[in-house]
Structure formats: C-alpha cells, structure tokens
Amino acid sequence: MADLKVNFAGVEFKNPVIPASGAYGYGREYEDLYPVSLLGGISVKGTTLNKKDGNPPPRIAETYAGMLNSVGLQNGGVKKFLNTELPYLKTKDIVVISNIAGATVEECRELAALIDNSDADMIELNISCPNVKQGGAAFGTKCDSAAAITRAVRSATTKPLMVKLSPNVTSIVDIAKAVEAEGADAVSLINTLLGMRIDIKTKRPILKNNVGGLSGPAVFPVAVRMVWQVANAVSIPVCGMGGISCAEDAIEMMMAGAQTIQLGAAIFNNPYAPVEIIEGMNKWCDENGVRSITEIIGAVKPW
C-alpha cells in the first residue's frame, strides 16, 4: 500500500483524486454505488449567489473521445449549497472544494465572503466557464481581468483559494502567473475547450447554445501540456484536469506537475472511475517501488 496522501495548498487530501465541478453534483448522486468518502475531495457544482436555471437543452453532444456541454451553471444558489449540500458533505470525511462562479467581480467577492464563513475546506474560483454570457471565461481570458477578480476574491477570504483557468487563451502561463501574483494559493486547469458540433441533416448546431465546452480523453494531451507549462512557471501548486479517465492518465498528469487531479467526463461512462483511479494508482506505486504518490509529482524528465 503506497501512501497516497498529498498536502495541497495547505489542505490534507487522503488521496489526490477529486471529481470535477459539474460532473459529480454534490456527491449524493453516486452514493448508491460507493461511499463518496473514498475520494480525496470533491469540487462541487459551480455556485452563484442566486439560483441559476442554466441554458436551454440540448446541453450535451458526443464527440470523438469526448463530449461538449453547455449546461450554463445551473445551480440552486449559494444559500442552498450552504444550508443543504455542505452540511451533508461535511459528514463524509473528504475535502470539500466550493466552486464559485459569479457573473460579476462583486458577486464572486460576495460568494467568497459567504463561503469564508462556512465549513468548506477550499474555494475554487471559476474564471473559465465557457457557457455563460456574463462572467466565466470573460474573467479568465485576459491577465488583467483574471488578476482583478483574484484580488477581489482574495480580499474576501482566508480559505485556500484555487483559481480554475481557461485553456481558451493565448498563454495560460501568463494567466496563471497573474493570479499567483494576486495571492491565489493554487490553480486548477484545464476547464473545457470551446467547441461546436453541427447536425448536417438539420444544419443546426447540436447544442442549443451553439457552442460548448469540450472534455473527455480528446483533450487530455492538451491538458497535460498546459499543466506541465504552468507547473514549471509558477510556485503555487497545480490541480490537473482534462480528459483523465484511468489511473495511468492520472499518474501522467501528476508527472507533468499536478499535485492533485480532477476528473469529470470519464465518470459519465464509468461511474466507478474515481475509485478505480485511486486503486490503480496504489497498485502502480506498489509495482514501481513508489512509496508516496508525492514522489511522482513533476517527475517527467523532459528531453
């Protein structure tokens, strides 16, 4: 049995595996199959100040080795999260990462202040949702706006603050440096890549939102590359995600420099993916003489 514990941005995780925001609800949905407490942490559905209804359907389209989604941050609002979901998750012995996704800087600051006053373990500031008209990627695609929102949220909370970055940018490294400079404790990447599918019979985009975020194994190499570049450019820890679907992918992502990993789309195909990854990592470590999973973080030997 290898030691899978990681200390990420000052927070102890019993293992580095975290279902990504939006892919796992609030953890209840998969408890028919296994206890959510097996996982290292959970990044909950992106929360806004008030209830949000999301985009019209269809909100999903299959692609080669992936999928597009355009959910548009449907959620019950921060009060529902704090009153209903968080108390439930706090009984589960996992790190609870509260993902916040306000439409304005002020909304994000207000959300952070509310979460700061709660039992959530970490905040993940989503500045990269491709599916909303206000906020989301609009914050995360320029260094100055990414810096400004990080600064505002930083001032509202002393909880560990992780900023979730968009890959739909010229230089994700520059954005990562900008949020690090404003006091982010960690970065998570990548959010989905903006994509589109068209039904050639009807000439209509499959998504009612026309465009949506691409995730799944198709984006994995892009994510590994971006995690590697960012991990080499900043001194804060990186949470790597994008197309991870098995233990080998998770190990590869950690070798690229991720200290923790998130997964989303893979769960829709295989609901056991998060626990299989934990078991697979353990096995891999044992077979390869790795005593602590931390030994593999950033272990890639680039040419």
Binding site: G22, R59, F268, P271
Partner: protein, 255 residues
Amino acid sequence: MYKHGKYPVTEKKAVAKGIFDFTISCKEVAEIAQCGQFVHVAAEGFMLRRPISICDIDKEKGTIRIVFEVRGKGTEKISDIKKGDLIDMIAPLGKGFKILEKGKKAVCIGGGIGTPPMVAVAKEYGENATVISGFRSASAVILQEDFKAQGNNTILCTDDGTAGMKGFVTTALEECLDKEKPDIIYACGPSAMLKAVVDIAKKNGVYCQVSLEERMGCGVGACLVCACKVVKDGEEFYAHVCKDGPVFSAEEVVF
C-alpha cells in the same frame, strides 16, 4: 436506488427494421425496477451511455426487457451485442409511472419507439388498459402481440394506413374518450404527439403522465445536461429528465 453492472443478454430479437428486443438477466435490477424507468447502456468505444426505457420487468425470472431503435452509431454498437454477451448498464434509473389501484382504467399511448415503455405499464391494468400505438407504416409496427397477450385492448394506427387505422393516435384517443373516460392516460412518443395528447387529456379532465427524452450525460442527476422545462407553483424552471423524470405529470411539462 440503482445498480451498475454487466449483465447477460439472454434473448435477442429483431422486431422490426432497426429495432431490437433484448431480454437481460439482472435480478438485482429487476427486483427494484418500476415501469417507466430507464437503463443507461454503455456503447463500447463511445463516450456517452444511451438511455433506453424499460419495456417489461419480470421480477420472478429476474429479467428486464429493452426494445430500442438504432438511431446512430452508438445504438448500432449496442445492437451488435449478441445473445449470451454482457451488457453494461446503470439501472434502474429515474422516476417511473404512477400506477393506480386495481380496477382503475388506463389509456396508454405510444408513438413509434415511444411504445416499448407502455408494455410494462399496460400489464398492470390488464383488460382495463387500452393501448393506442402509432407507427409510420406496417413495417414499423412493434409489440402488438405483447399487449394482446397481457389482455390489453389495442388500437393500432399508422400514418399511411398500411396497418390498423389510417391516422394519428390523437384521433383514436379522442374517439376512445368519447366512449369512456379512463382514470389515467400514459403517453410516450415524439414531442408533438405528447403535446397533442396532453391537450386532449386536459380538455377531458383526465390525469395524464408523459415520458420525456433528452440528450443525457450521467443519467443519475449529477451533470444536469438533460434539462426539460417544467412549471411548478407558477414558476418555470429546468428539471432533469434522468432524475426528476423521465415520467412527468402532464400539467408540469412546458412544451
């Protein structure tokens, strides 16, 4: 409560062009399954599972039946599963039909590939159920013998009149309601058909439940992609087909 597993397909039939009928041995699923629920089937090599409604449940034998149409490459892959092979499914999922007490009368309406879930629900009512099914033409007709074998009255409609009466299920439904009003109407099929059925049910003051479909992700209420507009207490919002449905009370659905 739902399960995830790989279960043997014990019978496989092609019941019409591109339409397959699988019997699956899955005791743990059959035990808890309710009519109107669905199974979420993995298609090898494809990212997303395919939601397929449960056609019939045999709790004694520990089997369920699914009848599905090949719509694209994913369902084509599922149709390649052979008798004796394993099928990977998460099941049973969603909320099923409300079944009234014994002696109550039901009209069950299936349009095309919306017909399969009517088998299990009509079975609950036996001779107290009238099943109205509509298809494009004779070659697409399915499941009529199943309804007859379980004692249901059947009315068959085809768009081109090559089998049963020529016309839409809505005409048959109106004629049916003129004779006798049932206690409940169940419907599954294309959206335009459902809307028309719901209007007729409302006009006649009969409680109606409809089964909806939408492009789906997780199947268990986590990813929120399969949104459908509903209205409750005067407020419109997006519910989710996988968890809040697929069966909804007609008055909730915003078409």
